[in-house]
Symmetry: C2
Subunit: 149 residues, 2 copies
């Protein structure tokens, strides 16, 4: 799993058209917005389903950054562009839902953008030193931090 | 080298503080903006300097997407978050400058955001099917396209 975490003054998106046959049903979730948000671009990779520790590590990393930057909410944003080794759509969606529900269970205000759709978005990144961070999480390994925090 | 190419209705940035000792001097380039822009987030990786074909392949891929989406200008945006295997700052900056100059030589209106700075940015992604694309380019190999174009 690859995570790109951006601390955004504001973020909003709108699903426009299906990118996949198996695009998620989005009744009532076509648009979303958030302020002072930690936007987490998530690429689920092949093999991530084999180890529930991948999701729990992702949730820990997200919560850690969320608290350090003092964000108000999390947006879990499916993103197919951070890896060449994608999980199947079904696996990816299941994992994205797990991340969302585990963050919610920890008390973090969380929304998840629809999976399998091309989306318009507007993002306003703060630009402080922790406002763009990345993580790579592989089954059975500790999370790797990218540049630089 | 990793490229994340986003077709943006508008994009603007402002360098805020140095992220590296060797941050580029930015007299007069603290801020930038573009409309109908192809914003190319570039992570230069270790080994990219060994093969000039990496830069020329990147330039070909960028020009190809630029023409397909009918963008008006390119923003080459240094980005340390698409790989765990970064080139040295000196190598990265040299390669970013080569990409910029080769795009300009091809007649594409091009700007390059400063290297080694934490930057605030606002990005407005169109959301059509070609508005977010990725490429992975390794020395001696043909470019790999990410999902999906
Ligand atoms: Mg950063
Ligand atoms: Mg896409």
């Amino acid at each position: 799993m690859k995570l790109l975490l951006i601390h955004a003054k504001s973020f909003e998106y709108e699903a426009r058209e299906k990118a996949l046959e198996g695009a998620e049903d989005i009744d009532g979730r076509r648009v979303g917005k958030a302020e002072n948000a930690l936007v987490v671009f998530v690429t689920v990779e092949e093999g991530d389903s084999s180890d529930p520790g991948v999701v729990s590590a992702a949730v820990r990393e997200i919560e850690d950054v969320f608290r350090r930057v003092k964000a108000s909410e999390v947006v879990v944003y499916p993103y197919a562009h951070l890896s060449e080794n994608l999980a199947s759509p079904g696996e990816a969606l299941a994992i994205l839902k797990s991340i969302e529900s585990q963050l919610s269970e920890k008390g973090l205000k969380t929304q998840r953008a629809p999976f399998g759709w091309y989306k318009r978005f507007t993002l306003d990144c703060y630009g402080h030193p922790l406002s763009e961070l990345s993580r790579s999480i592989r089954p059975g390994e500790p999370p790797k931090r990218g540049f630089e925090d």
